[in-house]
């Protein structure tokens, strides 16, 4: 269980996190979404006691992280891509972390196996690719068999096979009753992995809840309707107060109405319908709609970054 109440963190005059309140429950994967600079990493750093909050509380299992007597057995964290000494081997890195909690050596070998680093565990972490570094970070997070996992951009640098692996790993960990909190800038990835999402922008909460609800709440319902008399249908829909526009020679797109309402109007007007399809927004579109206001303040530099492919846009 992760819980923040009115969490606020400032760096100088910049407010990175502003009165953030949310809860992350066990048993499901919860995605943590927001544009670059929206305060995701700051929130995670405060949750882990690396940064001190200016106001509000950040609790894990009801306690501030820094008061946990055995933190690795309660919380596993993957911070930025690298929080590993480049001169030390993966196995020694894990052994050093394990020693702080008297976690036995066999557990170190076990997590190395889980993340698939057996063949390179004796090599210095500095020689690792980004993907291998991520796997080592995930091994560190799993070391203490914690009930809560905080993972910042875990799919960064992973190949398609690695992404599939982590998707299943996260779902499996959640199914075991763990709290799994994952930040990502890849909305499509979160749509596949997360059951719940928390969306923030400029340090403030924008939306929270089950993925489908968040999508529905964010984007207006749109229905595509094709008919043999689109002009009459368009007039009738407009007269009924719906926002409708003609697209293509026989199609009309209706905003703010569900398919039932559109079907009834068509029946009343005795217009033959060829197709009646509710248009479902993707999480990505919903995210764009929700965070538009939040990113506007960042001006062109953000728009420029956003236009690029995911490889260029992540931090």
């Amino acid at each position: 269980m992760i819980e923040t109440t009115g969490l606020t963190k400032r760096y100088g005059t910049k407010t990175a996190v502003d009165g953030l309140t949310f809860q992350v429950r066990p048993g499901v994967v919860t995605g943590f979404l927001g544009p670059n600079g929206s305060g995701k990493s700051t929130t995670m750093r405060v949750l882990l006691g690396l940064d001190e909050a200016d106001r509000g509380r950040a609790l894990i299992n009801g306690r501030p992280y820094r008061s946990l007597p055995a933190p690795l057995t309660e919380v596993g964290a993957l911070l930025e891509a690298r929080a590993v000494h480049t001169g030390r081997s993966a196995r020694n890195h894990l052994l050093a972390l394990a020693a702080t909690h008297r976690i036995p050596r066999r557990r170190v070998d076990e997590v190395i196996g889980i993340v698939g680093l057996d063949s390179v565990a004796g090599k210095r972490a500095g020689t690792f690719s980004l993907g291998m570094g991520q796997r080592l970070g995930i091994a560190s997070a799993l070391l203490g068999d914690p009930g809560v996992l905080l993972l910042d951009e875990p799919v960064n640098g992973l190949d398609p096979e690695g992404i599939l692996w982590i998707r299943n790993l996260l779902k499996g960990l959640a199914a075991e009753g763990r709290t799994v909190f994952v930040s990502s800038h890849l909305m499509s990835e979160m749509a596949l992995t997360a059951t719940e999402v928390i969306v923030i922008g400029r340090g403030r909460l924008i939306a929270a809840g089950p993925v489908d609800e968040v999508i529905r709440g964010a984007s207006a319902t749109t229905v595509l309707v094709r008919s043999e008399d689109p002009a009459r249908l368009l007039a009738a829909l407009t007269a009924a107060g719906h926002r409708a526009e003609s697209i293509g020679h026989d199609a009309v797109q209706v905003s703010g109405a569900d398919s039932r309402a559109v079907g009834r109007i068509a029946a009343r007007e005795a217009v033959t319908l060829i197709e009646l399809t509710p248009q479902l927004a993707t999480l990505e579109e919903a995210f764009m709609d929700m965070t538009r206001d939040a990113v506007e303040y960042q001006g062109e530099s953000y728009a420029g970054r956003h236009g690029r492919t995911s490889a260029g846009a992540h931090r």
Binding site: M1, R25, P26, G27, V28, V29, R45, L48, G49, L50, D51, E52, Y65, R66, P69, A70, P71, L72, T73, E74, V75, A77, L79, E80, R82, A83, V84, H85, T86, G87, R88, S89, N92, L95, A96, L97, A99, T100, H101, R102, I103, R107, S140, G144, D145, P146, G147, K171, A174, A175, E176, G177, A191, L192, T193, A194, T195, P210, V211, D212
Partner: protein
């Protein structure tokens, strides 16, 4: 779209780790820091450098009453840089975030790192000083220089090792205080060499008034036999106390920094 296979567990049922209750303690952090220290190649090379320097200088240390430990003037650089690197290396690589998430109280990390490093430096430098003295004394026997029976000779071996240990602690403290490798090394060089040069440029007795409080002169007094002690400066043990105060100030400053600043 959302997962179908995963059945959410009852939210109230808190999952218990198979390692629950294994609290972080100072001994467990000491064990961790020992693994960290011995698993880096820089540790081996740094210590080897110090040992080689001490052995290499011994045969040329032929002054009357010399203990053959003048190599420590250069070896202290190797020890100091190593002490800095074991700390700043964690900051530059991001390892410090792993260290502080495992040990969120933070102070045990500093204490354990300092303790483990100090122990290793003391053992290595005591053994090196002893061997260097004995072999050096044998090599220089025909010139009637110091032997183990010479007054102050055994003290020089012990005090030299204590000096290098305290210097290592000063370096660890500077690492936590400054965090940047270059900045910490520059500061260490100022303390070790720039300040003594500044002191020498002053007129007597001001040169001595400042000089007595510098680690460099504490080393000079520590590794010399009684016959060649300089009465203007503090005696060997008092000089080591002064060096210890330098180390303590750096460590306390480092501790305050670690506890107050964001990691």
């Amino acid at each position: 779209m959302t997962s179908v296979g995963a059945t959410p567990a009852a939210p109230s049922a808190a999952r218990r780790s198979m390692f629950a209750g294994r609290h972080v303690t100072l001994p467990s952090v000491l064990a961790s820091e020992w693994i960290k220290l011995r698993s880096l190649r820089s540790t081996f090379f740094g210590l080897l450098g110090a040992v080689v320097i001490i052995f290499a200088i011994t045969p040329f240390d032929t002054r009357q009453g010399a203990a053959g430990l003048d190599g420590m003037y250069a070896a202290q650089v190797a020890i100091g840089m190593l002490g800095i690197l074991i700390v700043t290396g964690e900051y530059t690589t991001g390892m410090i975030r792993s260290s502080f998430t495992a040990v969120p109280a933070r102070a045990p990390v500093l204490v354990a790192k300092a303790a483990v490093f100090a122990t290793v430096v003391f053992v290595v430098s005591l053994a090196t000083a002893f061997v260097a003295f004995v072999f050096g004394a044998a090599a220089r026997a025909n010139r009637a220089h110091a032997s183990l029976q010479t007054p102050g000779a055994q003290r020089a071996i012990l005090a030299g090792a204590v000096y290098l240990t305290l210097l290592g602690l000063l370096a660890v403290g500077l690492g936590f205080l400054i965090r940047s490798t270059a900045g910490a090394i520059a500061t260490l060089f100022c303390i070790l060499y720039a300040l003594p040069i500044l002191a020498l440029s002053l007129h007597y007795p001001n040169s001595v008034t400042l000089g007595r409080y510098l680690p460099f002169n504490a080393l000079t007094q520590a590794i010399t036999t009684n016959a060649t002690l300089d009465g203007d400066y503090f005696g060997p043990w008092k000089g080591l106390v002064v060096t210890g105060v330098w180390a303590l100030v750096a460590l306390v400053g480092g501790l305050v920094t670690v506890l107050r600043r964001n990691a």
